[in-house]
């Protein structure tokens, strides 16, 4: 948290901005990449969205009001850019219809940088069957290691709802994976 405050201060100082931005990239690039990748699925898409995200961060930092942490603010930008990218490219990863489920799996299989085994493919299949909100909660909590408070700010859902949703999803995934073994 203190690191974020110091970084924000340096990013807002024109004399230190460039150096601070490099430090920001070192700290957050990889984490934001994976946050994006799980939404847009393929590596190439994630690379594009990652660049757009950091450009927005660089240009918007002077207007950052610090109502949330720098960490949460950047994740929100990354999340919004990912959704915007999906809408623009009409890649639908929601699971309301079987066709949407197939689209998630098809995009995954077409990705040059996906090399999943049977178990991993099974996990993806189970995740794709969840609702969009459930997918995000599970991915952000389990893989991105965000707190429930941060996820609540990102998805605009109460923490209690998130907690119950998350533990329900985890239980579902475990049951389905074990059932198919």
């Amino acid at each position: 948290m203190n690191k974020d405050i110091d970084l924000t201060k340096r990013l807002k100082d024109p004399k230190q901005k460039d150096k601070a931005f490099r430090d920001l990239l070192d700290l957050y690039q990889e984490r934001l990449y994976w946050h994006i990748r799980k939404i847009v699925i393929t590596h190439d898409n994630a690379s594009d969205v990652l660049q757009n995200t950091f450009i927005r961060v660089y240009k918007g930092i002077k207007n950052f009001k610090e109502k949330s942490t720098l960490h949460t603010w950047m994740y929100r930008i990354a999340y919004n850019e990912s959704i915007r990218y999906l809408d623009k490219n009409k890649i639908n990863t929601s699971v309301s219809l079987e066709q949407d489920n197939n689209s998630y799996i098809n995009n995954l299989k077409q990705d040059e940088y996906f090399d999943g085994n049977e178990l991993q493919m099974r996990l993806h299949s189970i995740i794709s069957e969840l609702s969009e909100k459930q997918q995000r909660v599970f991915q952000m909590k389990y893989f991105d290691d965000l707190s429930f408070r941060e996820i609540s700010e990102l998805l605009d859902v109460s923490e209690n709802t998130l907690k119950s949703s998350y533990y329900s999803v985890v239980k579902t995934i475990e049951e389905k994976i074990l059932a198919k073994c």
Binding site: E30, K38, M121, F143
Partner: protein, 167 residues
């Protein structure tokens, strides 16, 4: 589905192990450079407008001012010259051809302002003076005529006097 400590620290390895998702070798290093270049390009476009670059804009502005000054200077000199018509070649040209009755052709060779000045001068020098001269001649004639009449009268009187008185 517990994450190991190693996984918590190495997020890429976690995604590789659990989701089968991988990244190209050296991707994050290259991505950092690409992002920094993209940010620099985003910041620079305002300064890249060709006509507004200092190295282009200032010399262009200076050239424009100099061209304008030269134009104004030339125009001023031209109008000054037009007001100083004395013994120019053009006036002599018009003078000669005026008397040779090729005036209309010659007038095409000079500017309108020179023509007006020439005409003003011609009217002053030639016509008005000529009128004065002619008026003087008429006056002289009248005066002369008086003398002639007087002399004729005198002659008549003398003759009549001689005839009538003497004879």
């Amino acid at each position: 589905m517990k994450k190991s400590k190693i996984h918590k620290e190495d997020i890429s390895r976690l995604h590789k192990d659990r989701l089968g998702m991988d990244v190209p070798e050296g991707f994050f290093k290259k991505s950092k450079e690409d992002i920094l270049n993209a940010v620099i390009q985003e910041e620079q476009p305002r300064q890249q407008v060709f006509w507004l670059r200092p190295l282009i804009a200032y010399p262009m502005a200076a050239a424009l001012v100099i061209a304008l000054a030269i134009t104004i200077f030339i125009n001023n000199n031209k109008s000054d010259l037009n007001n100083k018509i004395t013994d120019t070649d053009d006036i002599e040209f018009l003078n000669r051809d005026f008397s040779n009755k090729d005036f209309l052709v010659s007038s095409l060779m000079v500017s309108d302002s020179e023509m007006h000045d020439f005409l003003d001068r011609y009217i002053m020098d030639e016509i008005i003076v000529e009128v004065d001269r002619q008026e003087q001649e008429i006056d002289d004639l009248m005066i002369n005529s008086l003398f002639v009449e007087d002399s004729l009268i005198d002659n008549f009187i003398d003759e009549n006097l001689f005839e009538n008185v003497v004879l």
